[in-house]
Amino acid sequence: MVDVYLDGSRLEFEDAGNDSTIGDLISAVERDLTCHRRFVMELWVDGHRLPEWREGVVLSKPLSGHSDYKLNTASMEEVALEGLDLLQEYIRLTKDNVPLCAGALRSGGANADAAFASIFEGLVEIVRTADALARSGEKYNMDLFTENPAVFFGPILKSLEDIKDAKDAGDTVLLADLLEYELLPFLDEMEEKLFHFNA
């Protein structure tokens, strides 16, 4: 017998065959929440918050393994705002890494590779997060961006290709130029044009 709480209220959940998983519980709850434009945001099990609860390892665990489940939810708008914050943070961090990386590339600094990897990963996350937000906004009819972020995806991919070519050629001066004089202004422009307001 397990106890399930949703936003502090006890929920009736029947694990009839005693073989349900945590994933089954989440799915059932989210089915009910969708019409209320809400999502499960946090999961606490036996008094412990599970930060990585969306991962398969957690979702596939049998529900009967624990006795106490607490689920906290957030509205679609709250989720979207959090996503926008995250996107802005990715852009800001990536921009911060550009001069560090360009400087290291020019001076032959040992941290050039690490800074470059951060920029590359940052760009991937920017595209992924913006895309997910754009799709959710469309689905739930929310006006999240002033412009469709998809118009920036093409130039970002092109920029990534140029950067990769310069990196493969070992042309560190060109790479620094591309980062500082192409990518950085582009991220500035994206930040300025994409959001209704900047944090």
Partner: protein, 646 residues
């Protein structure tokens, strides 16, 4: 006037040889293009060498980073379009040397970018040997910073590595020279005065000038690889002159080879290097005039002397012994032997045992003074540790050195240390000069292992002997004929010593007077009345200094004997910086005081030494026509005779 001409005109004023080289260059040139801001940039080997947007901004940030490390000199590997050099100059930094590894880049840049404004302030080189010559001329106490932008490092990796290694080695050489000067100068001067009683008995080595024209010479060092081919030298006996470094003497005897000459110049006595048997009595010693006096007492067949051109005393006195030859020397007796060989007229000159690097587990050939050795490398620390059992020591000695690298005869790096690297630098430098000045002299490195020496032919000793050994020659007869009837000009020598002694006395008096003035300044600084009193006293010190300097001019060696104090003062000034104020004045006074205390002490030390040397010379009797006696008072020949033929 086009850009190329403008640049070459500026370059010609500073470095006409390089300008001529570029004028005659007919190869490919990089194409200089304009960056977005109009400044020059270019691509080479598929890479941009400067920003294609704003090369000046790029250079500015690099210059700031470079200068944050506070170097005394910046050595640029790659000038490119000169943006970094320009940024450094704009920040007030003037000590810049630039080596451009590619003529393609240099010629292209000179044709496509205006660097005429840089050329007067930045010494530019396209020849790494000349660049290293310049590096060797820099003060060994200065901090050198090598800088290369990423594209240069990426496109010229081997050349860049070679550049760094050679700068490191060249700078090590300068530092070694300073250290040697500090450690040895005083001892050399002391030895010289003590040797004065021996020197008239021995002919200078240049008595044999030209005596072996076209005759082969073999110079044996004591490197570990001597064991590979020393046995072959038996067949060279009588068909070539064999000069052994003193360290190689006993190892050679172990191979049945008795050298014709053994050369030594150490400031300390080295009795353990001799055999004390018939071999000693069949060989001749070539000794530096500053060698330890004990070396002049060894029982050998004959002794020759060479004079050191770096010593003011020797330059002043060599002529009195009939010598006008000051061998070029690179810190090792084999370097001296090479220049002596050239002076003797020998060719080819063959080296054996000149490894200049560590062997498998030893520094020297077996059979000498090392009973056993253990050499361990710590590559992470860049250090080599040597533990050795020396023949005269009861306990094992342990020493560690910074690990340095030289190119080996097989092209691979070989581990070395500072002194060998210094010798190596000298050899390569000497060979470049020899090629220009005496192209007919062939020098062969038949060391079968060890470091590659640019400018020498590298062939096995077997081949070298087969090609160059002729018939036997009576070496004794040639040596006897060339060296007989030489003598020393004792009267002039005595007069010089008397003059030195008087100058030393005068200097000592002046130094003591300056110290007294300094003591009074200190007191006045202490009671707050510094300004007026100090100015008055400083004026007096200046006048006394003038007297002191005039006295010192008579004997320049005096300044040389103060080299340790000079370097100490220089190190102090570097630490304190140029802007010394307030309480620092006391430190300054202390520094001045210490310097003149050194002068006074040095005078006190040398006066009796010079006196004793003069006394010994005065009491000499004429021996075998070598010496002419004189009185001190007249300062010239008692019997009015002077030796001729000098």
């Amino acid at each position: 006037m086009d850009l190329l001409e403008k640049n070459l005109e500026a370059l010609s004023a500073k470095n006409p040889a390089l300008a001529g080289l570029v004028r005659g260059y007919a190869g490919e040139r990089v194409t200089v293009e304009a960056a977005r801001n109009g400044l020059p940039t270019f691509k080479f080997s598929g890479r941009l060498f400067h920003s294609s947007y704003d090369p000046a901004r790029e250079a500015a940030s690099l210059a700031d980073e470079i200068l944050s490390r506070k170097p005394d000199w910046i050595l640029l590997f790659g000038l490119g379009c000169g943006h970094i050099a320009k940024a450094l100059l704009e920040r007030g930094f003037r000590n810049i040397l630039a080596y451009e590894p590619s003529m393609e880049i240099l010629a292209g840049v000179l044709a496509g970018a205006d660097i005429s404004g840089l050329v007067p302030d930045v010494e530019l080189f396209a020849d790494m040997d000349l660049f290293m010559d310049k590096v060797r001329d820099l003060d060994g106490m200065d901090d050198l910073l090598c800088y290369s932008s990423n594209p240069y490092k990426a496109v010229f990796p081997a050349c860049h590595a070679d550049f760094l290694n050679r700068v490191d080695n060249a700078h090590t050489t300068s530092q070694v020279n300073i250290k040697t000067d500090i450690d040895s100068r005083e001892a050399w001067i002391g030895n010289y005065f003590r040797n004065l009683r021996h020197l008239p008995e021995h002919a200078p080595i240049d008595a044999l000038r030209g005596a072996f024209k076209g005759f082969p010479l073999i110079i044996a060092g004591a490197g570990p690889s001597l064991k590979k081919n020393a046995h072959l030298l038996r067949e060279a006996k009588g068909k070539a002159v064999i000069i052994a470094a003193i360290t190689a003497y006993k190892p050679l005897l172990g191979f049945g080879v008795a050298p014709d000459f053994v050369i030594a110049a150490e400031k300390v006595d080295l009795p353990e290097y001799f055999a004390y048997d018939v071999n000693d009595r069949e060989t001749r010693l070539i000794l530096g005039e500053v060698s330890h006096p004990g070396m002049f007492t060894r029982d050998v067949k004959e002794k020759f002397v060479f004079f050191n051109g770096h010593m003011a005393l020797s330059r002043e006195h060599a002529g009195f012994f009939g010598s006008s030859f000051f061998p070029s020397m690179g810190g090792s007796v084999t370097t001296v032997a090479l220049d002596i060989g050239v002076m003797l007229g020998c060719s080819p000159i063959m080296f054996v045992g000149q490894d200049l690097c560590f062997g498998e587990n030893e520094t020297h050939a077996k059979g000498g003074v090392y009973v056993s050795q253990d050499v361990r490398y710590d590559r992470e620390k860049g250090e080599v540790v040597i533990e050795e059992d020396y023949v005269t020591l009861k306990e094992k000695a342990r020493s560690s050195f910074k690990l340095l690298w030289l190119k080996g005869v097989d092209g691979r790096p070989v581990p070395s240390k500072y002194d060998w690297v210094t010798f190596h630098q000298w050899f390569e430098n000497y060979m470049r000069t020899l090629r220009k000045d005496s192209p007919g002299v062939k020098v062969i490195n038949s060391t079968e292992g060890g470091a590659y020496i640019e400018g020498m032919e590298h062939i096995p000793l077997r081949d070298a002997l087969d090609r160059h050994l002729g018939g036997p020659v009576d070496l004794d007869e040639r040596i006897e004929r060339a060296s007989s009837g030489r003598g020393a000009d004792i009267p002039s020598l005595l007069a010089s010593l008397v003059s030195m002694r008087n100058a030393l006395k005068e200097m000592r008096r002046s130094a003591e007077s300056i110290l007294e003035e300094v003591r009074r300044i200190k007191r006045s600084v202490g009671d707050g009345s510094a300004a007026a009193e100090a100015v008055k006293r400083a004026g007096r010190i200046k006048k006394i200094e003038e007297v002191l300097f005039r006295s010192a001019e008579k004997s320049p060696f005096i300044w040389e004997s103060l080299s340790a104090a000079t370097h100490g003062l220089k190190a102090y000034l570097r630490e304190s910086g140029a802007d010394v104020r307030g309480p620092e004045v006391m430190k300054e006074i202390e520094a001045v005081s210490a310097a003149y205390r050194d002068v006074a002490e040095m005078c006190l030390r040398h006066i009796p030494t010079v006196n004793m040397a003069a006394e010994e010379l005065r009491s000499r009797k004429s021996t075998g026509g070598r010496v002419i006696e004189a009185t001190e008072n007249k300062g010239d020949c008692r019997d009015g005779r002077r030796l001729s033929g000098r």
